[in-house]
Each structure stands twice: as C-alpha cells, then as structure tokens.
C-alpha cells in the first residue's frame, strides 16, 4: 500500500497566514509546470513498483484551479504508471470560489471521489483579513452543491484560534459544519509562521494572536461538540464519521510510503525522506538535470522519533512493537511513561501508547519527552 501526492503550486491570491509553497502569477508557465509534473510521475514509477496505490491526493496550492484537461492529464499519467487500487481514495483540495456544478461534474468524471474544501470560517471579517478568495455565502453553498453533485466523502477545513474569534462564534462555526452533514472535518489552530504576511502583521502589532487559553478552550469545545455529533477525533486536527477517516493523511502518520510530485512535495519510503525544491522556476529548470530534490536517510533514532511524534497524534497511538523493533524500551522511556500516566496524559492499552484528551493539548511536549537525542 502506498500513496501519491501531487502538489499544484498555484493560487489565485495569497492567504495571510499561509506558508505553503505556491505562486500567484503562473499563467506563463502553467502548461510547462503541468507537463513537468507529468514527467516526474512517469520518471518515478519504479519507486512504487509492486505496490498498490491506496490513495491519491491533489494538494497545494490550489488544485481546484486545474482545468479538465490538466486534471485528466495528471490522473492518466498516474494510472499509466502505477497500480491504482479500484477503491482508492482520490482527494482534491478545493476552494469554495472554484466550486461550481460544472467543475464538480468534471472532477467526478475524472475519478475524484473525495473533496477537501477550505471553508476556514463563516465570519466575513475573518475571511477578509486572512485574504481568502471566497465569501461566507460561497462557503455555505459550496458544500450543498458538492453533495448534490454526488460527492459523499466531503471534508471541510476550519481555522480556530483567530485573533478576535469568540467562543460563541466558534461554537456557531462548529454547529454550521455539523449541520452541513459532511463526513470529515480538519480543524487547524492558526499558527504564525515565519515569512508570512501574518507574521509581519503580528510583528507590527497590527494583529494580536489569540491567547493560549482561548485556543485551548476552542480546541476542547471542538472536540467535545464533534464527538457528540458522531465524529471520531482520530487525530489531533482531524475528525471523521466512522469509516470516513482520511486514508491518505492517515498514512502519513502510520508511516506508510508515499510519493510526492511537484514543487515542494515530500516523499517517504520507510527509511528515506525526500523533498522537491520549493521554487517553481528552479523546479522546472533543474528537472532535466535531476537536481530538483534533496533527500535524507533516516537513522534509527530519527525513525523512532517520527513514529513517536506521528503516532501519538492519532487515537490508535504508537504500537510498542514498532518501537521495540528499533530500540529496547529503556529506563528513561519507562520513567516518562509512568509520569505521564500518573498525570493522566497518556494511556497504555493493548500494547499501544495513546494520548488522553488532556494529553492532546501537550502532544508536542509529550512526544519530545519520548524522543531519543
């Protein structure tokens, strides 16, 4: 089993908080980019030989910018070079402003069976300062439209921890998505990343980020409400109706192999990570000479740390056997385990370590306590 990720490095406009890789003026090389990504898919077919592809994920950037021809071209390249499972999850990230009946039909025809829609907020002023390209109305209508077009695996993104977002507003946002009756929700806490417009605004004191208390409260409320509405809180930022947990993203956390194509895309094969250059023109220029990526071999210690870090983020947790295969569980490990158990942060059940609700708020700290350095 393996996954394929395709990075579409184009966006209509730049969201204030975003540090993903994309460009907003791309028309002049758009064609070349899609063709090159197609070439990369073919070039790397040996990497996932003899495995079936269980998930395909079009991310970005903004893959909903792709037209019929481009999307089909990329999908065909994948099918021509890899063994894609007939029930594979094929996700496309879409922004509300790109969603129309026509587009939806085209995606459906192309084989897309899951949509991940960037709603982010139902508060007009927040959409505005975040420089999102869509309106509240579009956010509200696009999901209905998608459902009408026959999509039955829909995920929506929300952002919380915004500067002036009150608890009342947040509860309203949550209820709104519950009412939409989607199958999956990803909710991210706003983080101020370096080199973003948001970072600049914060430094200039034009925006004061929400306090940690507010962010924690919103997180707890989210988890509480969604669980009550029948969602599984299966990863720190992800909620799914039973049977609708994201296959592709889950595989990141489970250590399943994946191949990422396009600028800035990451790949992993169990012991090696590789990442493509995060620059569109360099990616294009250096593709021919095979100088468009870097890679890193993971040491046993790196593997251990990654398993701990990703595993703890999920409800299924970290399988002890997987750790033991790398290193024996030493005294430091057991001491950390005991102290977190005592504090009610961690559970140890069926040979799996997982975080309690309380522990989730400290996931990074707890993970790093189990790290090997």
């Amino acid at each position: 089993m393996a996954g394929i990720y395709i990075h579409i490095p184009f966006c209509k406009q730049k969201c204030t908080y975003c540090d993903f890789h994309f460009s907003t003026s791309f028309e002049h090389y758009r064609k070349e980019m899609i063709e090159t990504i197609g070439k990369e898919i073919a070039l790397r077919k040996e990497e996932l030989k003899h495995v079936t592809i269980a998930s395909i994920y079009f991310g970005g950037g903004t893959p909903s910018i792709l037209n019929t021809q481009e999307l089909n071209f990329l999908l065909q390249k994948i099918h021509a070079n890899f063994d894609v499972d007939s029930s594979a999850e094929i996700t496309l990230e879409a922004n509300p402003d790109d969603i129309s009946a026509q587009q939806l039909a085209m995606w459906k025809d192309g084989g897309i069976n899951r949509l991940s829609i960037g709603l982010q907020s139902f508060k007009s002023s927040d959409l505005n300062w975040m420089n999102r390209a869509h309106t509240v109305e579009e956010a509200l209508s696009c999901v209905q439209l998608a459902k009408k077009s026959g999509f039955n695996a829909i995920s929506v993104d929300l952002i919380y921890g915004l500067p002036d977002l009150t608890m009342e507003e947040w509860k309203h946002h949550i209820d709104e998505v519950i009412a939409m009756d989607v199958q999956h929700i990803s909710a991210y806490c706003l983080t101020v990343e370096e080199k973003t417009a948001l970072n600049k605004l914060v430094n200039e004191k034009k925006i004061v980020p929400a306090g940690e208390d507010a962010q924690s409260e919103q997180f707890l409320e989210l988890s509480h409400r969604l669980k009550k509405a029948g969602f599984l809180h299966y990863e720190i930022s992800n909620f799914g109706k039973p049977g609708f947990e994201a296959v592709h993203n889950s595989n990141y956390w489970k250590g399943v192999s994946y191949m990422g194509v396009g600028p800035s895309a990451h790949s992993f094969n169990g012991s090696k990570r590789r990442w493509n250059i995060s620059n569109n023109s360099k990616y294009l220029k250096q593709f021919a000479s095979n100088a468009y990526f870097e890679e890193e071999l993971l040491t046993l210690k790196d593997q251990w740390n990654e398993i701990v870090m990703t595993g703890l983020r999920t409800t299924s947790g970290v399988a002890i056997e997987q750790l033991k295969a790398l290193f024996p569980l030493d005294e430091a490990f057991q001491l950390a385990l005991l102290s977190f158990q005592k504090d009610g942060m961690i559970e140890f059940l069926n040979n799996h370590l997982s975080l309690t609700d309380k522990g989730r708020l400290q996931a990074d700290f707890i993970a790093s306590e189990f790290f090997k350095v």
């Binding site: 930022s237 990141y252 990451h266 993971l298 790290f371």
Partner: protein, 598 residues
Amino acid sequence: MKNIRNFCIIAHIDHGKSTLADRLLQTTGTISDRDMKAQALDDMDLERERGITIKSHAIQMNYTFEGEDYILNLIDTPGHVDFSYEVSRSIAACEGALLIVDASQGIEAQTISNLYLALEHDLEIIPILNKMDLPGAMPEEVSDQIIELIGCDMEDIIPASGKTGLGVDKILEAILTRIPAPKGDENGPLQAMIFDSVFNPFRGIIAYYRVKNGVIRKGDKVRFLNTGKDYNAEEVGILKMELNPKKEVRAGDVGYIISGIKTAKEVKVGDTLTLAANPCEIPIKGFEDVKPMVFAGIYPVETDDYEELRYSMEKLQLNDSSLVFEPESSAALGFGFRCGFLGMLHMEIIQERLEREFNMTVITTVPNVSYFCYLHKDKEKAFIVNNPSELPDPSGVERIEEPYIKAQVITKSEYIGQIMNLCIEKRGEIKNQVYLTQDRVELTFEMPLAEIVFDFYDRLKSVSRGYASFDYHPIGYKQSDLIKMDLLLNGEQLDALSALVHRSNAFDLGKKICSKLKELIPRQQFEIPIQAAIGAKIIARETIKALRKDVTAKCYGGDISRKRKLLEKQKEGKKRMRQVGRVEVPQEAFMAVLKLND
C-alpha cells in the same frame, strides 16, 4: 649595561599601546614586514578576537642610534582595570614608561592610575599623544591635560600615530636619551626579579625576569629565594617574537628561564631568582598577592563533567595564576567550584577560555564579593563568606562587613549630574570633584564593591553616553546593613541565586529579580510560583502560568522531518537546563540579576 633600556607602555584601555608597539617592532626590524599583523603582541586568540590586551607581553628589540647598538626591552601592558596588576609587575622591571594618551579622547581613568603606578617606581615618563591621524584629535587640549597631570613641558610630549607611524623615530630617540640605563653590578651575586610567568604545554613554566645584579647562565643551579627551592637552569635566553636561547643573561637585561617547573604555583611572580652556590642576601621587594575581587560559582552543564571541569580549571590556572577556586556544591547546580576573579571582565574571559580551550560549557552563577561576618559568640573573629548561601543563621550574626572601593570617574562636565545620581543609587559617597580642564572632571567616590558587580558599567556607559572612564581600587571593609535574600522556585530554594543585599534595596531588587526570572524561565506544564524571601518573609512574588497547550494543530502534510527536527531542537535546548525540583531552569536564569535593566 649602558646600552640597555627597559621600558613599558602604559595607557588607558584602547589608547593604542599595542598598535604603537607594532610600529616600534617594525622600525627596529624585530618583526619582518611579512610577519606583521595588527597588535602582533596580542597572541592569545581571545585577545585577537576582542581586540584587547589581557596579558603583559615582553619583547626585546635591537636598535642602532648614532653608531651605537642598543638593546631595548619593551613590555606592552593591558589597559583594563581588571588586569592592572599586570601593569604593576611590568613597571617593576623597567626604568621608563611610555604614557600613551589618545589625542581624540584625552586623559582617562586608567591613564591616571597607571601613571601613578609608574611614578611610585620612579620611572621616567615619556608622554605620547597618540592617534594624531584621527580627525577628532585635539592636540592642544590634550597636551594641556598631560602637562597639568605630570608637570612636564610641551616639548616633552611626542605627537604620534600608531597607525601612520608618525613620531616613531622621535619615540625611539626619547627612549634612548631620556630613559636611564639600568644600574646594577654584573659581578655581584645574581639577583633577578620574576615579573611574569607563562605556561607552555611542552616546556612547562617559563619565567620572565629582570636581572638586577649578576649574570644567569645556562646550566646554573638557581634558587627562588621566596620558595627556597632550587632548580637547574635548563635554558635561559631573551624574548624575541620567539624564545631566543642564550648562554647567559646579564645584569640590566630582561630574559626567561626554563627549569623543569611544571606548575604555576611553584613560581611566585615577584620572587627573587639567585644562584644556589652564591645567593644574594636580600630579596627584591616583591608584589602583594593579587586578590580576587569577585566570586562566582562555576558549574558544569552536564553534572558528569565535574572532574573534567576540575582538570580544565587546573590547566587554566597554570596559565593564569590569578584565578583561584575551591570546590563547592549547590542543591540546584550540583558539584562545582567557587571561583575568585579580578573583576567582571576576568570572569567573562575565564568562562570563555573554558569553553573554547577546554570545550567545557559551564553555568556561571551571579557573582558576589567576599564578606566578613562576625558572630555574637566571637565578635572579633571575621568569618569569611564568599558565597551568600553560606551565611550563618542571621540570629547568630552580630554584624557583616563588605569591601569598599575608591572609584575614580573621569567624564565631561555635562554628565556630572547623572553620574552622581548613579553613584548615590549605588550607595556611593562622593569624596572629591576636580576639574582637569574646563569640561573634564574627575569624580572620586567611595562605594561598596558589590555595587559595581551589578550592571554598573553598563549604566555608567549609558548615562554618560560613553564619555566616562572608570577606575577603582579596594580601600578595606566597612560595616553594612546587609541581609540575605533567597529565591524560591515552586517552593524550593534556588541556592545559587541567594544574594546579600542592602536592606534598603531588598524589596526593589526582589521584585526585579522575580520578574526577570519570570521572563527567563520558559513556561512549563504546571504553574510555577517565584518568590523572593528574607528569612521566612516573602518580599516579592511572580507566577509563571502553566503552559496549557503545547501542540501544533497544523497540517504539515508529508513534511514530517521538519517538525521532528524542531521538536528535537527544543529537547536539545532543555537538556542544557537545570532541574530545580520539577522546574527546568535555563542557564541564563542563574545570571539573571546581572541583567535586571535589559
């Protein structure tokens, strides 16, 4: 002997001693143009990097003047007040001194203090107006200051520039004509004064001396009068850019001896060197031991490195005998050493040398001075306290005395007000105010030494916009109303942060330290109260709120390595912290008191 001249170069810090020495070395051909680099005598890495001289450096030059060959022994000295003992030692080996004054700055505090040291030894002073090439040079004004200070004539002052070489010939001529040749009896019993010693990992201790009488030869059986120990003179010679072995070194000259001595302790600077077979009767007047002025704990970051730290400190002491240390332990920091330093710069340098020469990362605690504590049961016997946490229970204490200094500040008259305020705030008392010229003033204060340990230099610099120079020397102990202030973290005492403070400052200081600690200690998974206490009484309190949330809820897609590395780095940083009870305390926190005004 009549063709030997021994002189040192003295000045305030940065007035250009070492640069002028470069020009002298170059003109006399002691150093070839090819080997020339700026401040060639500053050969320690740390000296080169910081651009300051830390250790005196002696070197011999040859010079022919009007057909006569001369031997010139030059000693370049440091200007910083922490190292003024180096100046005293160098002066004792000389008959003359070049007193350098930066023409753009004028006379400053160490110009005066070093001049006085030289005058005490009756040295011939050659005043030099340096940095004449600078556009800001004020030759008339600064000459007036010099004339006023030493009572010389205008013609005696030599305008010069270490940068352009201006005045170098004149300086050489003045050295030959104005500084007297050494006096002594070549045929008398050997009498030589040790004025410095350095450690060489291959050759052991190399002692530098000035021969007053007699001759020292290779192979002689020599005796150090003070220690009474005899050694074999394995090698003697003179000091060039490299050691230059000779068969003998004669009266009046400056030289070195290697005699199989392995540790710095065996050679006492100031001791008299003589021959075992024919010893001289009276030793030359030596030096007082250099006394440490400030004390601080030095602890290994990794507790396992204690033995290695000891080894490193011992090695460092071979090089720098002014460093003293003894083992101590702290509940917060484990095993380490209480070290005595000559001043704050010295402390900084020791810490840096430990890091770079021995690869030892250490935690340095807040420095303090040495107190005398008298107990009720014996009111006459002082109990020396070099570490505040060792202060006996206050109920048994009759009185505490602390060291005082006399401080000289030279500044522009417009800053007098602010500087006086600063000194008063630092419990100082103004003793004297003298106008050196119309707008240059020398202020004399008496104040507790402890006060200059805490942010005094920075404050002085900022209130005077850099136009103040500072010099001090100890003047003895005085009784003070001192109390011990403790700091508690999560209810546990942080012994390394205990301090003796003046009662009148305690509340204010307690509050500032608590809030500084709040800033420096990262939030942790639980709430941490910080308290300052005098005895059982809490005088200040802050709380570090618990870290509620330590998780990134961001989609980092396939980029898992980046996140992993970030967490690894954070964990790495934590490893360098110290555990006090449950609280992780970063190293900077142990020095918090020094940065209260940042």
